[in-house]
């Protein structure tokens, strides 16, 4: 029997998954929590073989919980359970040490397989995102092909956020206490880094990639 902890802010989903597993499935959701911050204390109280965790949660997100666990030396395999197919999330979770990644539109059979594999510390990637994983590792060998997003500095992200709010270069300059020239230079650098043609595409790209 695999003892699993479920971390998901959607109560319905959590209770649903719990009742989905019958005793002879070999999987039991021993605890559900909607607050990732509780994970360390739960792990100290309960014996848990693996953690099923949603990525996007209000108080602390999946990646945050992974980091929290790592900082406390808690080493329980984690299967990320999410709707997001974006490389941004997949990448972050894998980098932070998740054992697997499965989409919420998976079937019960797929989830079962994923839970079993992850509890054995094997990797599981949902078929739909397997190709993206390969692309990611390929991209890693060619840094030029790597994700454009993390070439953006914090200051540049500030600029992007202002642009998204509809501020023009002058307004941004005043808000950040810098010259309008500097803002324009930043804009240019950002556009080159993200390989976009104009502000509109810059905003679209930034929102899709979660910069904004």
């Amino acid at each position: 029997m695999i003892r699993a902890l479920l971390v998901d802010d959607h109560q319905l989903f959590g209770e649903g998954v719990r009742s989905m597993f019958k005793p002879n499935d070999g999987i039991e959701i021993v605890k559900i929590t909607t607050n990732g911050n509780n994970v360390p204390s739960i792990l100290s109280e309960l014996e848990v073989d693996m953690i099923l965790m949603d990525i996007s949660m209000p108080l602390i997100d999946g990646v945050g919980v992974l980091e929290l666990m790592k900082s406390k030396g808690l080493d329980v395999p984690v299967l990320m359970l999410t709707m997001h197919q974006d490389m941004k999330y997949i990448r972050k979770t894998l980098e932070t040490g998740a054992q697997g990644y499965i989409l919420k539109d998976a079937s019960k059979a797929e989830l079962t397989e994923a839970i079993v594999k992850v509890s054995r510390r094997e990797n599981y990637f949902h078929p739909k995102i397997n190709n993206q994983i390969f692309d990611y590792f390929r991209g890693n060998k060619n840094p030029s092909e790597g994700d454009l997003v993390d070439q953006i500095s914090d200051r540049e992200k500030e600029i992007i956020a202002c642009i998204g709010k509809g501020m023009n270069s002058k307004a941004i300059a005043e808000a950040l206490f810098i010259s309008e020239h500097t803002v324009k230079t930043h804009r240019r650098n950002i556009m080159h880094k993200l390989a976009v043609k104009n502000t509109a595409e810059l905003v679209t790209y930034s929102m899709e990639k979660g910069i904004i």
Copy 2:
């Protein structure tokens, strides 16, 4: 026993909810479909007391299914089940005739209550969105306060999509086989309707509201 049909593209969620209800709960998910287009044929085969439906689905969305049902004269009460707390979705579903609206982070007790009420053709609104509903009806008396989004015509949405892709007015004109002047007029109208200052804000707003 309330016989419910569940329409959700997330298999896991669907199977989870199904197994959540035990015989003595008085609720049975008699069928799960991931494709809303199948709803009419399912209703002709099975006796169903109410429909639990996700709003955002790939092939046909919840509102689309409601419209499809209405066009075929199918009158089964529908409880919308979703993560979206946006007024945009709530409003559309209510306007199209949904009986209730519940968030996916509800508890089993709340879902049960909602299903029972909806099956009796009573309304159910998740507590979290009740206030928004009131605001909506208040807003209805003041049409100026209404949602800006649905003042946007289909053509204008096309223009917005092109802008988001980084196309300039000339490129959009060529793509849509219209004059650049027309595109500029559209842009102006859109910006006025959405009350935004420039393209960047237009893109941000449109993405947040789901126009793009």
